[in-house]
C-alpha cells in the first residue's frame, strides 16, 4: 500500500505540469514573504501573542492548496500559510487575523493561524491538535448524505499530532466510512522541541496506514515536484472514491516553533542533511533549470508580492480596532436564548 516517492521524476513537459508548478511556486513565494512580514511585525511588537511560521513547509503545503478545488474542504494547521493562500485565502484575511481586525473573518475574536471561512470549506483550526480531522470527515459525510459527490477533504497535521487520540479516532472513522479524506502529515522532525523519537516508534509514520486500511504515500517534503505529484495523485484517488489517503512528508521546520523560539534544539546534522534543504530554493532552482521561468520574472513576482503584503498590512493598520462596546457578546446564535442575566459589569 505504501508508495515511496522521493526522487524527482524527470519532469514531464506538459504545460499543465509546468503551470501547476509555477502556480505552486508563486504561492510558496507569497507565503514566505508573508511569513517574513509577520516575523517582522512580531519583532516590532505589533502582533498580539504568538506568530507561527511555515518556513521549509511551503512546498508540501502549496501542493495541497493547488491540488484542491474550490468546492473541496481544507483544514490547514499551523504551518500552512502557502496552502491557505493556494486554496484561495486572501492575504488580507491572514493579515487581518494576525492584527485582530474586526473586518477579518475572525473579527479579532480569534487570531494568528486560527482563521478560516467554514462556509467556504476552509475550516478554522482550533488549537487542540488532531481535532480538525473529524470535522473534515463531517463535512464529507454530510456531502455524501446530500448526494454531492466528487468532494475531497484535506486535513493537515504534524508528526507530533499523530500521537493524539483525536488523530486516531478521526482517521479510523474516515477509513470505516471510506470518506474522501486526504490526511497530510508534515513530519518536520520536531513537535515544538520534541524530536520524533519521543513521538512514535515506527520507522515511518506512513506505516500507520496499514493499520487503518488506508492507502499511504511517503514523500520528500523539500521537493515541490514530488509533493505536487504525490498530493495530486492522492487527491485524485480520494476523489475517485478510493477512500482515505495518508501522505507523510519528511522535511525540516526551518524556523522555531513560534517566533519566540530560537529552535536551538534542532540537530545541526539534520540542518545540513537533505531534509534541511529550503524547499523554496530547491523549487526555484528547479524551475530555472527547466527554463520554465527566469530570475527576472521571479524577482518581479517577489516585488509584486512584497507590495501586495505591504499594502495589506498598511490597510489593516489603518482599520479600526475591535470596539468592546460595539461587540455582540453572545456565544450562541439564538439571541432569545442568550442569558439575559449578565453578572459582569
Amino acid at each position: 500500500m505504501l508508495q515511496t516517492v522521493s526522487d524527482p521524476k524527470p519532469a514531464t513537459d506538459s504545460t499543465s505540469t509546468r503551470e501547476l508548478q509555477l502556480s505552486a511556486f508563486r504561492f510558496m513565494l507569497l507565503a514566505r514573504l508573508l511569513d517574513d512580514k509577520f516575523a517582522a511585525l512580531y519583532r516590532a511588537g505589533k502582533i498580539h501573542g504568538g506568530v507561527f511560521l511555515a518556513r521549509g513547509q511551503e512546498a508540501l503545503s502549496a501542493s495541497i492548496g493547488v491540488s484542491l478545488k474550490k468546492t473541496d474542504v481544507f483544514a490547514p494547521l499551523i504551518r500552512d500559510t502557502a496552502g491557505r493562500l493556494a486554496f484561495g485565502e486572501p492575504v488580507l484575511d491572514a493579515v487581518r487575523t494576525y492584527l485582530g481586525s474586526p473586518l477579518g473573518p475572525m473579527r479579532g475574536r480569534d487570531g494568528n493561524v486560527h482563521r478560516g471561512r467554514p462556509q467556504e470549506g476552509y475550516l478554522p483550526m482550533i488549537s487542540h491538535l488532531g481535532a480538525m480531522i473529524s470535522v473534515v470527515n463531517g463535512v464529507l459525510f454530510a456531502r455524501r448524505l446530500k448526494k454531492i459527490s466528487g468532494t475531497v477533504g484535506a486535513a493537515c497535521i504534524g508528526d507530533g499530532a499523530t500521537s493524539t487520540g483525536a488523530f486516531h479516532e478521526a482517521l479510523n472513522q474516515a477509513a470505516v466510512e471510506k470518506l474522501p479524506l486526504v490526511l497530510i502529515v508534515a513530519d518536520n522532525q520536531y513537535a515544538y522541541s520534541t524530536p520524533t523519537s519521543f513521538q512514535f516508534a515506527c520507522e515511518n509514520l506512513a506505516d500507520k496506514a496499514i493499520g487503518y486500511g488506508v492507502e499511504s504515500y511517503s514523500v520528500d517534503g523539500t521537493d515541490l515536484s514530488v509533493c505536487l505529484k504525490v498530493v495530486g495523485d492522492a487527491v485524485a484517488k480520494a476523489r475517485a472514491g478510493d477512500g482515505p489517503q495518508l501522505i507523510v512528508a519528511k522535511l525540516l521546520r526551518l524556523c522555531g516553533h513560534g517566533e519566540h523560539d530560537d529552535a536551538s534544539y534542532v540537530d545541526p546534522q539534520l540542518k545540513s542533511s537533505p531534509l534541511g534543504r529550503d524547499c523554496l530554493k530547491v523549487a526555484e532552482e528547479f524551475l530555472l533549470r527547466q527554463n520554465w521561468t527566469d530570475a527576472a520574472t521571479i524577482a518581479e513576482w517577489r516585488g509584486k508580492f512584497a507590495r501586495e503584503i505591504e499594502e495589506a498590512v498598511g490597510q489593516v493598520q489603518r482599520e479600526p480596532a475591535p470596539d468592546p462596546f460595539a461587540e455582540n457578546w453572545l456565544a450562541i446564535s439564538s439571541e432569545h436564548l442568550s442569558e439575559t442575566h449578565t453578572n459582569h459589569e
Binding site: A131, V135, G138, R143, I332, N343
Partner: protein, 321 residues
C-alpha cells in the same frame, strides 16, 4: 396510548427525521440495534441511511457532527451514556461551542446524553454532568423532566441553530408515562411551575422534579404548600420564573442530583441572592448529591442522591426558620 419518556425521545427523533431532511443520527449501536436504551428503535429501518452506527470514538463522533453542521445538516449524536461524553468533551466545549462566536457560522448539533443515576449504575453510568457543559459559553443545556418535555424539547433542540446538550434522565426512561404527545409546549428557556404553593419554592430539574413533587405531597398533610419550579433548561436559566416564585413564597430550596460544588443549585442561589435578595425571608438552601462518585449499591445510592424524603426534610427545616 401509553407513552414513556424514552418513547417520547424516539418519537421526537422520528418526527425530526421525517420533517427535516437535514437531520441524521450518529452513535454507537443506534442503527439496526436501536440503541442501548432503544431510543432509535426501528429508526434505521424507517429512515435508511440516516441513522448510523459509529465506532467507539466519542471525540470523532462529535467532530463529525460539527463538520456536518457546517455543511448545513442537523446531526443528533447519541452518547451511549452521558459519562462517556467526557472523552468527546473537547470537541463539544472547544469545537462545537466556539464555532459560532469565532466564525459567525452556527453549529446546530444535538448531543443526547442519557444521564443520571439508576440503581446499580455505579460511578460511571450515573453521572449528572450538566454543569461542565453549562459552564462553557456557547452551549444550550436542557434537562426535561416529563414525557411531554422530552418530546417537545428534543424537537426544539434539533430545530435550534446552536449546539444543544440534551440531558435525558435514564431513571425516567421507563418510569414516566403519558397519554399522548404534546402538540404545543413551553418554549426552551422557560421554566414551568410543576406545582403551585405559597410557603416555599423548590427549584429543581430532571428526575429531581419528581422527588420534589413527592416531597410536596408528603408535606401537604402537614399544612405546607410547596411550589415547585421545574427549570427544564439549565442554560439558559429562567431566572424570572424563579424570582417570581420566590417573591410569592419568600423561601427557596434548590435541589439537584449533581455534585454539590458549583452547578445549577449554586447558580440559582447566587442569582436569587444577588437580584432577589429582598424577596427572601429565610436563607436560601441547597440539596445536592454527596461529593463522592455515585455509588453502586442501592443502599449507598439512595443516600447519595436527594430523595423525596431528604427533600421533605430539607424543606421542613427551612419552613421552620
Amino acid at each position: 396510548m401509553n407513552l414513556t419518556y424514552i418513547d417520547a425521545i424516539r418519537e421526537a427523533q422520528a418526527h425530526a427525521l421525517r420533517d427535516d431532511p437535514r437531520v441524521f443520527i450518529y452513535g454507537q449501536d443506534i442503527g439496526a440495534f436501536g440503541g442501548a436504551f432503544k431510543a432509535t428503535k426501528n429508526l434505521a429501518k424507517e429512515f435508511p441511511g440516516r441513522v448510523l452506527d459509529s465506532p467507539i470514538s466519542e471525540d470523532a463522533m462529535v467532530g463529525l457532527a460539527v463538520g456536518a453542521a457546517i455543511e448545513g445538516m442537523r446531526p443528533i449524536i447519541e452518547m451511549q451514556f452521558a459519562d462517556f461524553s467526557t472523552v468527546g468533551f473537547n470537541q463539544i466545549v472547544n469545537q462545537a461551542a466556539t464555532l459560532f462566536w469565532r466564525t459567525n457560522v452556527p453549529c446546530p448539533i444535538t448531543v443526547r446524553l442519557p444521564f443520571g443515576g439508576t440503581s446499580g449504575g455505579g460511578p460511571f453510568h450515573s453521572q449528572c454532568i450538566e454543569t461542565i457543559y453549562a459552564h462553557y459559553p456557547g452551549l444550550i443545556v436542557l434537562t426535561p423532566a416529563t414525557v411531554e418535555d422530552a418530546y417537545s424539547m428534543l424537537l426544539e433542540a434539533v430545530a435550534l441553530d446552536d449546539p444543544v446538550i440534551f440531558c435525558e434522565h435514564k431513571f425516567l426512561y421507563r418510569h414516566l408515562k403519558a397519554e399522548k404527545l404534546p402538540s404545543e409546549a413551553l418554549p426552551i428557556g422557560k421554566a414551568r411551575i410543576a406545582r403551585e404553593g405559597r410557603d416555599l419554592t423548590i427549584v429543581t430539574y430532571s428526575a429531581m422534579v419528581h422527588e420534589a413533587l413527592e416531597a410536596a405531597t408528603e408535606l401537604a398533610p402537614e399544612g405546607w404548600e410547596i411550589e415547585i419550579v421545574d427549570l427544564r433548561s439549565v442554560k439558559p436559566l429562567d431566572t424570572d420564573t424563579v424570582m417570581a416564585s420566590v417573591a410569592r413564597t419568600g423561601k427557596l430550596l434548590c435541589v439537584g442530583e449533581a455534585w454539590p460544588w458549583g452547578g445549577v443549585t449554586a447558580e440559582i442561589i447566587a442569582r436569587v441572592a444577588s437580584e432577589g435578595y429582598g424577596l427572601l425571608d429565610a436563607p436560601p438552601q441547597r440539596l445536592n448529591a454527596k461529593d463522592t462518585p455515585v455509588p453502586y449499591h442501592p443502599n449507598l445510592w439512595t443516600a447519595h442522591r436527594p430523595t423525596a424524603r431528604a427533600v421533605a426534610a430539607a424543606a421542613r427545616k427551612l419552613l421552620r426558620t
